[in-house]
């Protein structure tokens, strides 16, 4: 399990940041790209129109396995409790949506959904975090 950096206590976050600074240039550029994408997705989660569209897609494609926003149960499939099994940063959630975990029955939605739909689904999920 990877803990979402934005939920890390300040001291741990500082350590993580220091570790990140020690990485190579390509790591750094990946890191920047992810941070940029995180910010875009967090902004999308504040846009009611995007969230509404994401909810519609979520209801159509995701609800059957992941349950409603009121979902209970400690499981990777619960997207509305604070625990993330495959990365809880917005860009990590998006990556999971795009590439899936077929061995766990999670489809790679990126192969069939347009990017605006996957963005909207992630925005909806982020908007419902308690």
């Amino acid at each position: 399990m990877r803990i979402a950096p934005h939920r890390l206590p300040p001291l741990l976050a500082l350590i993580a940041l220091t570790a990140a600074l020690g990485r190579s240039d390509s790591d750094k550029s990946d890191q920047e790209k992810s941070a940029r994408r995180d910010a875009e997705l967090i902004a999308a989660a504040k846009d009611p129109a995007v969230v509404k569209s994401g909810k519609a897609t979520y209801t159509a494609l995701c609800l059957a396995c992941h349950g409603a926003e009121t979902a209970q149960g400690d499981s990777p499939s619960n997207l509305f409790d604070p625990k993330w099994y495959h990365g809880g940063r917005p860009s990590e959630i998006e990556r999971t949506v795009l590439v899936g975990f077929l061995e766990k029955n999670m489809p790679p939605w990126g192969e069939v959904l347009p990017p605006e739909d996957t963005t909207a689904v992630v925005a909806f999920i982020l908007s419902q975090q308690k």
Binding site: L61, G73, S75, G100, N105
Partner: protein, 519 residues
């Protein structure tokens, strides 16, 4: 000359073959709502030995073999496990299951008791009913709705939070209050629609009946429909409790349960096979058992210039099967990890089928307390706890012991119990169930639980194909890809129902027959 041959030859001259064969039970009487197979001529005479290899001996695979056999095809069914039926699984004493996480169980139910871990019921309109008739499987009513069963919601607001109610109380009161509101709105012309005096009276008359309202005041003041605290007899006309307030019912959120019986598939009447759901699979298997091979797991599904080639393992050996057509009924999670020549769009479609998990537990009790103490004979109690529902048996009334389905879950809660050891799953069911039936702990004997995402060779429970993709991707599932075909409930609009497997198999049988007949 066999009876079939005779009738076929006679039919070519007289045209009476189909009627005669149907009457003699030689052709399918199961009509279904999709592919009509009755009346298709056998291809045996013209094209002997057309070979079809069928992967999977669940309902879809067995049905395909059965129907193709009637039409003169030479079928072979390769089944990876050691039993037929697939998800149509009934658990009885001595049955064993080791899931993919290594949790092992052996069923300790008493003789005569059973637990349907997969499908447990079917509505009267589904083709499953026709197959029961055709195969001679006895059916009995499945009591899906019992007004005497309970609703129990907790963590909600209002005076009904954490209280169990008989279903009829909540339903009659909600219906009465809503009818009253509407009647008053109509009576004071507060609706947008303008009624004539005559129409207004018609609407009011409807609402009086609908809500059991006071004829003069149009008020809902309770109704015998909500039941009694003391039941009517000779010395009492019955004692009623006061009606629950509308606000209290809404706060308790019971309406989430109301719709479950209104859905088309769950409307009365529903049925079950006598003795367990697998009676259907067993009857089908009996028809085709000479062509079913167990312990044969498909590893590759290939197109060839002339047909299909399947590579499979049997024991330690890797073998190959050549056929004219291949029908693949492997569930999506298995098929996704099997090498195959289905086209890119079929592959995409297979990848996005949400083959979801579900979890069920069968709990055996020393005493049928739900009948003895609570007077619930069949039906389902509903709750907003994660166990969702408790099924009471629709059979075996008055027996000393009985078996309940203690949870039926989907989504994250089902994934959570899937990780638990069997003993912890029992505790999960008892802890929530005892809030509805305090007798649970004292009467509990043993249990058997099935989590479909960890059942070997299946790895999932059901799929409702996303409505959003029915026009774009669904067509790829139901169209032949060369001589490769997909069948299963998940390749139909009846996902999760055995009827979907029957219908899908019939659809494929019709496609193969048409292709062979035209060649």
């Amino acid at each position: 000359m066999t009876r079939r041959d005779f009738l076929e030859k006679a039919g070519r001259y007289g045209g009476a073959s189909f009627t005669a064969m149907t009457a003699l039970g030689l052709l399918s009487r199961a009509t279904g709502r999709g592919a009509e197979l009755g009346g298709l001529p056998s291809i045996a005479a013209g094209k002997p030995g057309t070979k079809v290899v069928i992967l999977g001996a669940g309902i879809a695979g067995l049905t395909a073999a059965y129907e193709l056999g009637k039409l003169g095809f030479a079928c072979t069914v390769l089944e990876a496990s050691t039993r037929s039926g697939g998800r149509s699984l009934t658990i009885r004493k001595g049955d064993t299951l080791t899931d993919t996480l290594g949790h092992a169980q052996t069923c300790a139910f008493d003789e005569g008791h059973y637990f349907n871990a997969g499908p447990a019921r079917f509505p009267q309109w589904q083709v499953t009913m026709d197959y029961c008739r055709e195969l001679g499987v006895a059916v009995e009513p499945f009591i899906n709705v019992n007004e005497n069963a309970f609703y129990y919601n907790e963590g909600v607001s209002g005076p009904l939070a954490g209280k169990r109610l008989r279903q009829r109380e909540a339903k009659a009161d909600a219906r009465g209050h809503v009818a009253e509101l509407l009647a008053k709105a109509v009576n004071t012309d507060k609706l947008d629609q303008k009624f004539t005096a005559e129409d207004k009276e018609r609407v009011l008359e409807f609402l009086r009946r609908e809500g059991d309202l006071n004829a003069d005041t149009l008020a809902y003041q309770g109704s015998t429909r909500r039941g009694f605290k003391t039941w009517p007899a000779v010395d009492t006309k019955g004692v009623m409790d006061p009606a629950h307030e509308l606000l209290a019912l809404l706060q308790a959120n019971f309406s989430v349960h109301f719709h479950r019986n209104n859905e088309f598939e769950y409307q009365s009447a529903l049925f079950q096979p006598v003795g367990g759901m697998d009676m259907i699979a067993k009857a089908l298997f009996a028809k085709v058992k000479t062509v079913v091979r167990f312990g044969c797991a498909a590893k590759e599904i290939r197109k060839t210039p002339a047909g299909a080639r399947v590579v499979y393992t049997e024991g330690n050996e890797t073998k190959e099967f050549l056929a004219d057509h291949c029908i693949c009924t492997l569930p999506p999670p298995i098929l996704r990890t099997t090498a195959h020549d289905f086209g890119a769009m079929v592959k995409n479609t297979l990848n996005i089928i949400p083959f979801q998990n579900s979890a069920r537990i069968g709990l055996q009790f020393k005493r049928r307390f739900w009948e003895d103490d609570d007077r619930i004979f069949g039906g389902i109690s509903w709750t907003n706890q994660t166990i969702n529902e408790i099924y009471y048996p629709s059979h075996g009334f008055f027996q000393p012991k009985g078996l309940l389905i203690g949870y039926y879950m989907f989504g994250p809660p089902s994934d959570e119990v899937t990780q638990l050891a069997p003993a912890a799953r029992i505790e999960y069911a008892l802890k929530q169930g005892e809030k509805i039936h305090p007798q649970y702990r004292a009467e509990f004997e043993n249990a058997f639980s099935v989590n479909w995402s960890t059942v070997p060779h299946i790895k999932g429970c059901l799929s409702h194909f996303p409505e959003k993709l029915t026009k774009t991707l669904y067509p790829f599932l139901i169209k032949p890809d060369g001589n490769l075909h997909l069948a299963g409930d998940w390749a139909s609009h009846l996902g999760g129902w055995q009827a979907g497997a029957f219908e899908s198999a019939r659809h494929v049988v019709k496609n193969i027959h048409a292709k062979v007949a035209a060649s």
